[in-house]
Symmetry: D3
Subunit: 243 residues, 6 copies
């Protein structure tokens, strides 16, 4: 399964991952995650209120927004705030981040509060949505830690760590963690979100070129499973929870 990837990476090898906590000073959690040349700033903001549909139910909420700086990409994209609307792609991604992180935490365990995650791409080189999920997990953890430290909650409301990665078929070979060149040219692109226990939260696979068969599906899921296990280790190490 060996082939020429940028930086001589193996097919089942993640790009270098760097997780920098407290990257900005105002947010309760603020993480810069870098996966190769992809850089996403993930902030977690706590608010002492919930959306109307949850008022008085004694539980919290978690939601996410996603954006790309206009020149995070190879050629400049229009600024969504100036256009007056978020694209379908943006909404799809922020809904995915929200669902994935809601699966990570126990919404009934942190009171009538909302955790708002903002994932803003400073530089894009493929895999921005999966990097967002992996980084937001750490930012959310940090935000809940401030609640715990202040005595507002008595235990961390984590159900399990969650991380995400992309896999795909590029020039006929299944690869882990596609960069922009691989992503643009691949036949199949799949984003996988899993728990630390290797269970699935989300699977979103699309055949952009040829439809793919069951055997390929199986190989891609194998790659994702190993990659996510490694990402969870990196999250926990960044938080000082693992060696």
């Amino acid at each position: 399964m060996q082939q020429e990837r940028s930086g001589g990476r193996a097919a089942d090898q993640l790009r270098d991952v760097r997780i920098t906590r407290q990257y900005t000073k105002h947010a309760e959690g603020s993480v810069l995650i870098e996966c190769g040349d992809t850089r996403v700033l993930c902030t977690a903001s706590l608010q002492d209120k919930v959306p109307p549909f949850l008022k008085g139910k004694g539980q919290g909420w978690l939601t996410a927004e996603y954006g790309m700086l206009p020149r995070s990409t190879h050629s400049r994209m229009d600024r969504e705030a100036a256009k007056g609307k978020q694209s379908g792609r943006t909404q799809e991604i922020q809904r995915l981040i929200g669902r994935s992180l809601r699966a990570a935490f126990d919404l009934r365990a942190f009171g009538e509060r909302t955790l708002q995650l903002d994932c803003d791409v400073l530089q894009a080189d493929g895999g921005t949505r999966t990097a967002s999920i992996t980084g937001a997990m750490v930012a959310a953890y940090d935000a809940f830690s401030t609640l715990l430290a202040s005595g507002a909650i008595s235990a961390m409301p984590v159900r399990h760590f969650v991380a995400a990665v992309s896999v795909g078929v590029y020039r006929g070979l299944p690869l882990l963690d596609l960069d922009y060149v691989e992503d643009s040219g691949c036949d199949t692109d799949m984003n996988v979100v899993m728990t630390e226990a290797g269970r699935f939260i989300e699977v979103q696979g699309t055949a952009e070129g040829e439809a793919f068969d069951r055997a390929t599906m199986d190989k891609l899921l194998d790659l994702a499973q190993d990659g996510i296990a490694e990402l969870v280790r990196l999250q926990q190490r960044a938080l000082g929870l693992a060696a």
Copy 2:
């Protein structure tokens, strides 16, 4: 794998499917697809132009829009035209329909034309997005048949038939083709789009309750594969291409 489903349906059994062609008179293709109580009107409209990014490239385009009538649902939803924007869910679905149907046809084989698919839900009872894809395939086929009949193209630009179905885990059991009650209460919901040859176009699975393991994933994909094979037979029978 037997359990109590509405209408005494087996776990691996589709709801009754009815495909009515030429349901309305203006569109080049017009199909009412009914899957149990879910009813979607799928129209296919041909236009002799392509979007700007394809002008002069000698190929065609295919795109889709999706909508729900305000009272297609149990309680009335706001009308998106009145609110002035399509929800994230709507955009996600219409992007999915578009990608799935673009995989079904050869965009280079019908000239500089656009096939516009409109999938409008008249009555919803679960599975509206998958019914939309399955019905739109037939409507698109009818529209291209008019092009063929008129001599504008010399062969049908079909690469393969495409159909879609939902699968999910409801009360611990993997089920095919969830209705609204099953869909609302399920732990895992997966929409699968496949070709007539059993290859994957799209897989979108979400753990809405518990994260699911690899064995469950495998069972769900098995259910989907058989269901889609049956749906393709029904599409082809409706078009008079199969007995």
Copy 3:
């Protein structure tokens, strides 16, 4: 006043009208009205609340929205939800439907509830706004019947039946109930809404070609009066209130 109309129709003759109740299953009232090839789905939804300006006043409200499916028309129209706004024409029509139906019912006789009418055109062949009014009357009646049956109100809050029809001058001759071809080519187009007692609710006449004189106005009102009387009979027959 005889001339060649499609289907050999006389100048003072309505197109065939079919009124199908309970066309969809979720709405309190759901009517498909067909006037020739024009088909409109009219649903009536009851909600236990009123707009802010009526809160606490002990009366109800009734409002309407109107839409056309993108390919209900000869060539495809843009989807208003995708464009992000309703056209002036759409707003004009839904305001007309709302005013007309508010005249039919006693808003003080069904409590602090809102009846929301949705008129969605599945197929258009002229006269969609008048068909919407005639069909919405039946859907609203059905919805209030469910309130009566449940004991929530003690009498039907109907003031009088209301129906609507278009009349116009086409090739110099006054005609009842214009189809699309007649409507597009006519000099004068008038939409009339009347009660079962032959009194006017709305008259909206426009000279699209030549301005018209008082004598023509009188003939058009005569035609409308007879047509509406017939439509009210058909409404009441569909509801089992007349033979």
Copy 4:
């Protein structure tokens, strides 16, 4: 038909009308029309281009927009520019003004130009839409006069003068030219647009309270016909075309 109206006006009497031409200096036509306390500034702007659907067809276009200053009314209305959309009422009115004035002029007689009418209400006291039409006729005439004077056209493109007035049933009596108090309290309100020859361009009647009968309709049309004849005289006198 005598009754107590503000200022001792008779039932068939117009309010005082003042038409001031060249009210502002930039527009090709600029008219302040005052009907009692209602004051509307009507400007006519000529542009040397037509909308895309008319390009190259050798004809002109005429269109209208309508607005109310926020405090033209008794209590302040929200500014439509700040809300980001024009109300249904505004759109309905500007469509009416446009249709009415297009009937007054020969669109094929002034080249590929657009006449843009802007009717802005400075002070409202009932009848703003009909005052807009009556004033816009004069502003449009002035604008075309500049074209004629410059030699760009060789004859005035007027088909016939057009004016408008409201009529209604207030406390049981048919009245001409309702002011705000009468308009708010009336059972029936009708706006009528006619040519100088007494032919109808538009009739828009609404029963806001009781439905009205044919005899009332006839009386209202009589009142409107006489009122409009008087308004056309005032328009022509303001333009120096009549004594």
Copy 5:
């Protein structure tokens, strides 16, 4: 410092200013201010409520909106209500008017009320934003006078009179109160808002051509100071507070 200006005006001379109170009848304050050919209608509307962020704080609020009639300008501008958004320029101006007038009044001295100022340009010939501020001061004063007369407040909540003027460098010479021709061709344009005591509320200077030096800045501020002193005298004379 003499040069050829339209109307033979001196460099340090204001255009003719006319302030007409009670220009329209509904608003609590209604002022037409004319500075040369620039005409702005300023209305002041009192409402017995404050924005949410001030509720229960026992103080009032003052805010402003600004608009231009589409043909107030040399060539027609698009109507902002039709475009669905206010331009950046419009928002900048209405924020400036609001800030300037909030400095003129004591927000804690008129209860939980909002004074809404609307400045609508009927005819533009340069200096519309400064004319708006100068006129709005008088309209606001009139509105508060009605409150005082009704006994709702016991003293006028005025801190100091505020007026505004533009200054600029045109063809190398510093000028007071630029008209449109001067404004369009000037190198530097500065809007100054001051109190009756000659203290600054706002200074907004822009080098549209050459950057300007400190000496020029000083001359422009001198011109503005004298012009504003004269404008305050005119405001007070219009209100009968000065001879």
Copy 6:
């Protein structure tokens, strides 16, 4: 003029400034500017086209957009892309940045190209608009350097360096370069943009509390002048143009 400022800063002392070039990899110019805790990412993107109003005129254009990440601020702000519009403040700032930078370059000296500046605030602590201008100058310089290096232009199109700083009166004392605490509590806030030669491009001063007198104005301009001279030195040093 000594007083207690955060970090023991003198009244006429800038915060620490760090300018990092090539902060992201895709943009032709990419600068992170840090002024104390304020951090703004300024990217400059070159496009080979100009806006419609400049087509064929042989000159270029330069424009700017500004945004704040939702949690760049002390408490989270709504995301403008999600709200669907940019605030008045945002538009005001990006118009200011655009005007300031257009003054720095000769638009006729780089062909029919557009330089698009994007200033995105990663962390806010006062002075984000002036930091944006100062940083954008460097990013624009870098972008034009790439044009020069490629031979597309033969000389740098710089007219003069431009930088910006805020000054204000805080607790009675004039201060240079306000941080957030000072900015929020100050009586007067002024943003000044100047050239390297000490000439004014923009002055925008606002009395947020007490109106200020001419002597204060003079002191503030003195402070700004010295601060901007220092900022220009830092810009040129960062670009290797000065020691």
